[in-house]
Amino acid sequence: MIDLRLPIGIFFLLVGLLMAGYGVVSPNDIPHIGMKINGNLDWGIVLTIFGLLMTIFGWRGQRRPPERKNQQPPTH
């Protein structure tokens, strides 16, 4: 089974890059607040970093051999 962090990471990497790129090309401030905050660039960077970390962890997890299923009694 695929390591779920991989598709999640790639998704946010793509969306983050899309938003950050759009923020660079079309630097719109957040509307109605009158402040110089480029929402797309800033949040796009946040998403890109998150996506990158998830991709790395997912890629490493994918290479690890699968855990053996362990049936334990309930623990309290």
Binding site: M1, I2, L4, P7, I8, F11, F12, L14, V15, L18, M19, Y22, G23, S26, N28, D29, I30, P31, H32, I33, G34, M35, K36, I37, G39, N40, D42, W43, G44, V46, L47, F50, E67, K69, N70, Q71, Q72, P73, P74, T75, H76
Partner: protein
Amino acid sequence: MLQHLLLLATAMAPVQNAATAAASAAQAVPHALIHLAPIDIAILAVYLVFVIAIGYITGKGHQTSEDFFLSGRSIPAWITGLAFISANLGALEVMGMATSGYQYGMMTANYYWVGAIPAMVFMGVAMMPFFYGSKVRSVPEFLKKRYNEGARFINAITFAVFTPAISGISMYAMAVVLQDFLGWHFWPSVVVSGLVVLVYTFLGGLTASIYNEVLQFFLIVLGVAPLTIIGLIANHAKAVKHAAAGMHESWLAAATAGWGDFTHWLDTHQVSQGKTMLPGSMWLHTWMGTGHAAGNTLQITWPGVVLGLGFVLSFSYWCTNFLVVQRALAAKDMNSAQRTPLLAAFPKMLFPFIVILPGILAIPLLPHLVTGGTVVHGKLVSDTHTVNNVMPLMMGTYYPAGLLGLGLTALMASFMSGMAGNVTAFNTVVTYDLYGSLINPNASDKHYLWFGRIMTILGVAISVGFAFWVRGANSIMGYTQTIFGVVNAPLIAVFLLGMFWPRTTPWGGFIGLLVGTGTSVTLWILCMKGHPMAHFYKHGTTSAFWNALWSFCAGASSTILVSLFTRKQPVEQLTGLVYQVTPRGEVSATLAWYRKPLVLGILALLATLILNLLFW
């Protein structure tokens, strides 16, 4: 879903909550129709491609019905934990919580901090060993093992009837938002989104649903969280007005200053609720004024919150509803199953800050929103400038193109995660507990796998059909959701006695289920018909809490009474189902502290206590 069902009772009460009376000079109303830019469409398209791809990838290799319905019991705890929250996080909850934040403030957080976390902890520590350890495939099957076929049938049929209906209502609500804000037609919105969910649940079954729920969880958090931050910044900008024009400030500095400006605004303004003016500061408290109903925004009293919401309603939902329990049953081992609701509790307790807080922050920013919509020829015609739409309105006002696409995709994701959760739970219960139990008990596993896929199509078809039905007759929406909530309210009595009192007999459980449900429905009808009791409670939420408590008492007492006069089961039949006669494993010395359910449960309760104290 629990939160929404309960809030609906509030909405149906005759309390008119007008928008705040604060001066409405400040902000212009956003356009009713939001125009999406190509970047917004691109983000939505990437999302749709990914959810279908995940369905395709996870569907490869499904050979048995258990692979399809329970993911082969192979999923790690962090995934089932996030899916546990996400399946519950439908569009109605995300948007409904913001609405409730606008109307009632942080008091709404009680639905999380009292109405969810303690029950989730109890589920993980005390109840999950019996669900997972007994190897049942569904909650109704547990009732069959512990009690009898009758108890299973009542639980299964109720669940199978209401689950796709609730999903259809969620679909309807989402399509209305898309219609109002984006100008998309109703039927393509419903059919296309239904098809996307159908494709990935049909291909990948529960695994696809769970995997997508985790993606949707992150998308909802990362798509909606900026609204809280920007809401704070907007409050800061509103406070400093012209001085802010062209100002350069970091997100963090502006948001931090915004919290101070916002709380100052609430401290110095009165906010109206119907004809009553209340201090704005009441919108930031969860317990203040709950000594009497008139002293708080939600008109509730603390005994009702603690016993009705915190015990009966929340335990019935979080500990017995198959929609959420199914996620834990897909876990790879007992420890992972126990940790599923416990790991879910930590992000869950922080959700008020991204779904409720934006609604509260909107009070000074969008002070003119009204309650309800317009009724034309007996049908509710949606009005975009109502409190119900506070979240999309906030997004439309403050999200630039790009961020707006992310936010709307997050709302779409919340709708899809809720719907897929309902559909995968529906197909499992219908296949195992109705078809496999009553109609065709001796079929091959391959046949059940085939039947489950057909039920997936049927579940989506019923949801879509129900969405169109609700569109034609709006009043059924409220009744369907409320009745489902009412029917489920007393379930926990029968489960607790079944799991922790060996003397409980099959007849006791069966009669207790009938009496508890009957009491709950009767009390609800009496309140709806204007019985003096309803006037005593004064408010729909209060009556929902107390009715649940009385139904619990009726269900529990009848179970005990009938059990004392009927033949008890041999001990060997109860092993694995009842606490006293089930061998308990020792805590492994090698198990790290963060894997021990009891430690995680205590930490979750302590963190929740701190949040309650912070917003007392």
